[in-house]
């Protein structure tokens, strides 16, 4: 597996549909990641302000509350530049709007959880120190 060892990474899964969220969160835990869960952008910032160290936010575009996933990604990038954001959506044209926010665009639903892990690792690998 490329990227950081799962046990050292904390993923925040932000998904308003609990039946989707609980399955993905448990899959990631079974893969060795530490996972925290939320349903809206406010949840993300409450966690980021706490002593919980989050490495990657995996968020649905359509969230509960005032902010959508795009606004969440933009604000996270500005305030917490060391936190990666991966967006997902079942909305077909979401990828266009996200092109400047996500390196590989929005992950379309339905996705295989392994693709979530691949996206997480791609972003973490980019942060890994490169040999001189």
């Amino acid at each position: 597996m490329t990227g950081s060892a799962p046990g050292r990474l904390t993923i925040m899964v932000v998904e308003p549909d609990i039946l989707v969220r609980m399955v993905l969160a448990e899959y990631l835990r079974d893969c060795g990641y530490k996972v925290v869960e939320g349903g809206c952008a406010d949840d993300v910032f409450a966690v980021l302000r706490s002593d919980i160290k989050v490495h990657t936010v995996f968020a649905e575009v359509r969230l509960l509350g005032d902010s959508d996933g795009f606004a969440l990604a933009k604000a996270t990038r500005e305030m917490y530049p060391d936190v990666d954001v991966v967006l997902t959506s079942s909305v077909a044209n979401a990828a266009d709007k996200a092109s400047d926010l996500c390196a590989e665009g929005v992950l379309e639903k339905p996705y295989h959880p392994d693709e979530v892990i691949r996206r997480i690792n791609v972003l973490r690998d980019r942060r890994a120190p490169r040999p001189a």
Binding site: I18, L19, M22, V23, A25, E26, V36, E37, I52
Partner: protein, 130 residues
């Protein structure tokens, strides 16, 4: 995966459904119970809890706050569970004294602030693990 069926691997661990609207409280309790060896599903309100219980998820015990936003509080959720899943143990918690939520049968009441080790103890008692 979450215990979608009793025969799933994760279903060998008892599954606790935590219902708590205060995010950091919920995360702390969930992490503690996972470290104790339980599978934990996190719900932010009673409606989410109902969706989980009505789904194929296999839940062994519900641990719910009483004061929650939305149409249904924890006490109403416990009433719904008593009708839909009468044998499902429920632990209710609140910062207030809740006289009519007193412990009886498969229902327990724990006043906030609680020690997580006490919650673990109550869970194990209700699941017959003590």
């Amino acid at each position: 995966m979450v215990g979608l069926e009793p025969e799933d691997t994760a279903a060998t661990r008892p599954c606790i459904l935590i219902v708590e609207d205060e995010l950091l409280t919920r995360i702390a309790a969930a992490e503690f119970l996972r470290d104790c060896g339980f599978t934990v599903i996190e719900a932010a309100n009673a409606e989410e809890a109902r969706l989980v219980v009505a789904s194929r998820a296999y839940v062994d015990l519900v641990f719910t706050d009483i004061q929650m936003p939305g149409d249904m509080d924890g006490r109403s959720l416990a009433g719904w569970l008593a009708r839909e899943k009468p044998r499902l143990p429920v632990i209710l918690t609140s910062a207030r004294l809740e006289g009519d939520a007193a412990s009886r049968g498969q229902r327990r009441f724990v006043r906030k602030p609680y020690r997580l080790s006490d919650i673990e103890k109550q869970i194990r008692e209700l699941l017959g693990q003590s």
